[in-house]
Symmetry: C2
Subunit: 251 residues, 2 copies
């Protein structure tokens, strides 16, 4: 073969390594006609200085977040208002940035909400007292309108203050401690009674039978079990038993 490749010429992988991009990327830029190198007789891509420089520009604009299509216009069209493109691009990047900022804020809010009750999930806590199946009623209200967000919300609102959450938390922690005494112990039964009154005070009206049913849910649904057991292994089972005992005594 003759010396087809002269000093400054460069093959695909060399260029890729030099530029810190993949070979595939260069192939792609070739196929879309953005950076079309010369070819050797055996079909190898030969990049010359001009191509190298073009690639620099392409990569520069790529780092500014331009789409390849826009970049194509920028580097290949002589009459192209780059300044305007830069300003447009700035706006778009600004929007995207703000979008992620909003996401971050929302995530923070959600994390906060969830931490509210000492690592117990709000959603499942709420489900645990069966007054709202929707953990994100704020979101829901925006999205679904008031119609779809039923009256359970009024009860939910009352959970808006920290005191109540702390009380809730304390209640479960106490119960977790007491569970070792057994479900029929006086201490446990007193605490369970307190829990019953707590629910009735803050979350609607429960009959003793409904209360027992709630206890059953705590073991029937894994999600409740899991969340309740965070306060202590086996708490859910204990509560179910204790609540059943308590409900029986009320008759």
């Amino acid at each position: 073969m003759k010396q087809e490749r002269r000093g400054a010429d460069i093959l695909t992988k060399e260029l890729a390594d030099l530029a810190g991009i993949s070979v595939r990327t260069l192939h792609y830029y070739d196929t879309i006609g953005m950076l079309v190198p010369e070819r050797s007789s055996s079909g190898y891509r030969i990049y010359k200085d001009e191509h190298v420089q073009l690639l620099q520009q392409i990569l520069f604009f790529r780092e500014l977040g331009f789409s390849l299509e826009d970049i194509n216009d920028i580097v290949h069209s002589d009459s192209f208002d780059v300044t305007e493109a830069l300003h447009t691009q700035r706006q778009m990047m600004e929007q995207k940035k703000q979008r992620f900022e909003r996401m971050i804020e929302k995530i923070d809010e959600t994390i906060d909400d969830r931490r509210g009750a000492g690592n117990m999930m709000n959603e499942d806590k709420f489900r645990g007292v069966d007054f709202s199946k929707n953990p994100y009623e704020q979101e829901a209200r925006e999205k679904w309108g008031d119609r779809a967000v039923d009256d359970a919300n009024e009860k939910m609102r009352r959970f808006d203050n920290k005191e109540l959450e702390e009380k809730w938390d304390a209640m479960f922690q106490d119960l977790a401690t007491l569970r070792h005494n057994g479900p029929e112990s006086t201490d446990a039964q007193e605490k369970i009674g307190e829990f019953y009154r707590f629910l009735n005070d803050h979350f609607g009206t429960y009959s003793p039978d409904m209360f027992r049913g709630l206890g059953e849910m705590y073991v029937a649904d894994e999600r409740f079990t899991e969340n309740i057991d965070r306060y202590g292994q086996g708490l859910a089972v204990f509560m179910n038993e204790a609540m059943a005992v308590w409900a029986k005594k009320q008759k």
Copy 2:
């Protein structure tokens, strides 16, 4: 047909409208098994309350930027650490946000650079004196290493101060004014001589012939023409002629 669809049940478009998403999206969520509704005998999708609630959760996490795959895990796996997922997600969103921030900074830098010489493009001004084809040598140096950024940079560096840019600017503005006197006028020829010395002082060595060649480039390449003509319509053509005249006189 029997009453297959009861009060609370909902068809695809109704749900889509309610949720502010497209029908296609619901189809898609169905095919990937994330939100699989029931079916009527004729194959229609029937969404019940549970599906509606599931969709709410899905959309909520979607707004937090989670991928559908992650959302699937979150809403369908009972043993899934949502808190950890939230923190991970927060980090990812933070990274993306910062990426866009960096892009914005770079765009601003670039805009600044380009505005540097009174609305004349740096890159093309530089190309105009033929000492750097790469407008973004800073970027290039990071990307390509010093080897690929040739000695043209040393000359470029000298342009780093504002004085020079202002001089350059003033030069072209004067020439734009003088162009009405014609390329052979004494005023014009004097200014052109000044421009020649300016180039030789600051940008390397030009012979009168090279100088004439430069003038030809000003009309041969649209990009130069365009940028030069910003100082005044027809300035490029005028300079080409004036530079040719001046070069001839030097022999």
